[in-house]
């Protein structure tokens, strides 16, 4: 091995990021011809036409140069309106940072807030990127089950809690945080001085209108909103954060030296996106969810799916998730995601229903056979 390709050239923190478990799965998948893919993390519907038209218009008008770091004022103005009307969050254009996807905002937040040894509280099961970033930045992950009540929090002894981070609706469970839970987390943030961060990228996938923006109850929240999932524009790399001015300013300074700005045509398309009605697609996924849930409940357990587009489900007989996923791939060309990346338990899988109905029905048939025949007593 070349002397400078020794492990030692990499930073210490690179020892704490790892994808090898999942990579094995991806390698298996490459061989499949007609897979039933229920592992997808993005909507299956096309980017709505008005958004594509706005992209065309921006390009025609040569909106292809850098924008200011914080993002174009027109989009920030539109977002102020959105946050106020849709989320009941009071904010201003100064308090908004536009960036290249929620993932970039999460990176900026970790760089800005988390030192080695700092504690970050996640609601469990938790989005894998949160867990990876904590590990990478040498923070300390503290897990609280998503069904917690305010008493449960009192059992934790925090030494240096710097951030409380959750997604609602949740990836991977679809759980939507309840009002008393939000208030309990806000109280904890006040008490410890931690930053409360609410990742609301799935806000529109809220099938029984239960979703409450954390920032409407606790103004010091950092709210992350994304265009990717709401408007099926994952490749256009657009998201925004709002919250206390001082934090937004720090994130903006950091963006200036790292991300620079979100893609310019996407920023213009974002203005249009906020006026697009995607309720037909939401209804479609609600039907998908109902179909999947109805079948699953006859043979397995899962977290009650209220939003997003996932059902987090137990493997049959608690067999290890990786083993189960391999079985599904090899025998049914069925792809689901092993749950261990979201939780420390290893007998869960994440099933996505952000697919065409026909694909979902094929998946349901396969799951039925697997749970009822292959792994029954």
């Amino acid at each position: 091995m070349d002397h400078y390709l020794k492990e030692s050239i990499l930073s210490e923190r690179m020892n704490y990021i790892d994808t090898s478990q999942i990579r094995k799965m991806f390698d298996l998948v490459q061989k499949l011809k007609n897979p039933i893919n229920l592992s997808i993390g993005q909507p299956h519907f096309p980017t709505p036409e008005p958004i594509l038209e706005a992209m065309h218009k921006a390009i025609q008008e040569k909106k292809t140069f850098y924008t200011i770091t914080q993002g174009i004022p027109e989009l920030r103005e539109k977002l102020v309106e959105k946050f106020q009307k849709k989320n009941h969050i009071q904010t201003s254009t100064d308090q908004i940072l536009i960036s290249s996807g929620v993932s970039s905002l999460l990176l900026l937040l970790f760089m800005c807030i988390v030192d080695p040894g700092d504690e970050v509280l996640l609601l469990e099961p938790a989005f894998l990127m949160y867990r990876s970033l904590i590990s990478f930045f040498r923070g300390k992950e503290i897990l609280l089950n998503q069904n917690f009540n305010s008493e449960d929090i009192k059992n934790f002894k925090f030494i240096k809690l710097k951030m409380i981070l959750f997604s609602s609706p949740s990836n991977p469970t679809g759980y939507i945080l309840k009002k008393d839970q939000i208030l309990a987390l806000a109280e904890l943030a006040e008490k410890t001085g931690a930053l409360l961060v609410s990742d609301e990228i799935y806000e529109l996938y809220d099938y029984e209108k239960k979703f409450i923006s954390c920032g409407s109850l606790y103004p010091k929240t950092i709210t992350l909103m994304g265009f990717s999932k709401s408007y099926s524009m994952t490749g256009l790399r657009l998201a925004a954060a709002t919250g206390p001015l001082e934090i937004i300013r720090s994130l903006t300074t950091l963006q200036q030296y790292t991300i620079v700005c979100a893609p310019t045509p996407s920023q213009y398309a974002g203005i249009q996106a906020l006026d697009v009605d995607v309720s037909d697609y939401i209804d479609y996924y609600k039907t998908n969810r109902d179909l999947l849930k109805k079948e699953l409940q006859s043979f397995t357990e899962f977290y009650e799916p209220e939003g997003a587009f996932y059902i987090f489900t137990k493997t049959p007989k608690n067999i290890p998730d990786l083993e189960f996923c391999e079985y599904c791939i090899n025998h049914y060309e069925l792809l689901v995601v092993p749950g261990r990346i979201f939780t420390n338990q290893n007998y869960w899988i994440r099933i996505s229903y952000a697919v065409e109905r026909e694909q979902l029905l094929r998946g349901i048939e396969a799951l039925k056979k697997i749970y009822k025949n292959e792994f029954s007593n």
Copy 2:
């Protein structure tokens, strides 16, 4: 002040990033009505039509979803060809990572390589983002003048040199690294085990065809190429890195958890961009450079500008750069960049000539008056 907006909420590393000196300048600029702006860091010409057409086509074809982390294979194939033909770098599609601008690649590199205390060698004057990232990640900046010879390197005592990083053609001086200098840096990299990183974002701005890609002489180089400056597409956020497979793999893993992928329509546009001929614009800037240089040499000193689109110039009578820049703004509405962000000396300014001829001529007139009248003896 709110208790959680105390400085303590921010990470330790946030104490080491600062823009306040420059911000004062920007505040002054806001008031100007018809400034002569020679502070610009991007080409003034429009994104070439074939690139805009490729963007339109990608959007029409609904290329608006996530791509694989590493970037679309078609663009990586095209880049292999480009690196081989134009740069004489031998590479393969596996050894290429596509990302959202060179700035994102720099961020990934620092996260991947630099631990607190690690030494990073820069050629001075150096691009401000390198200096900011070293400071932010708590590395140790070591400056070597860009005119070094191989003997000069021997005077340094490195304790833990992890990275050697430079831009050629250089921002801010326009200097193009010579063959013997590249070989000396390669030898240093071999001896110390450091990673040699060549930022070639200005490669096309090479007025006397002197540019040599570091990777053509030293295959273990990490080469950073950008579309932003070459094809005037700064807002489209597209760049690529190539180099040893192990490093590219590590950067890709990290991108998966942070940047996710470069904007999808931009990736498709990038394929087209590599076929675009921008030589007319390069010629235009060559004429700009010659005009500016001819005037400046009658009243001040500067680094010989061979490439990029900047001249790094001494202030009159070595007066402090900030004071001089303020004077230019207040008396001539002329904007140039204070040099202290690129060097530890404080009597330099960076003048950009990436502007329309008329703008440049106005700038030259103002500079003449300032140097010859206001600040003459």
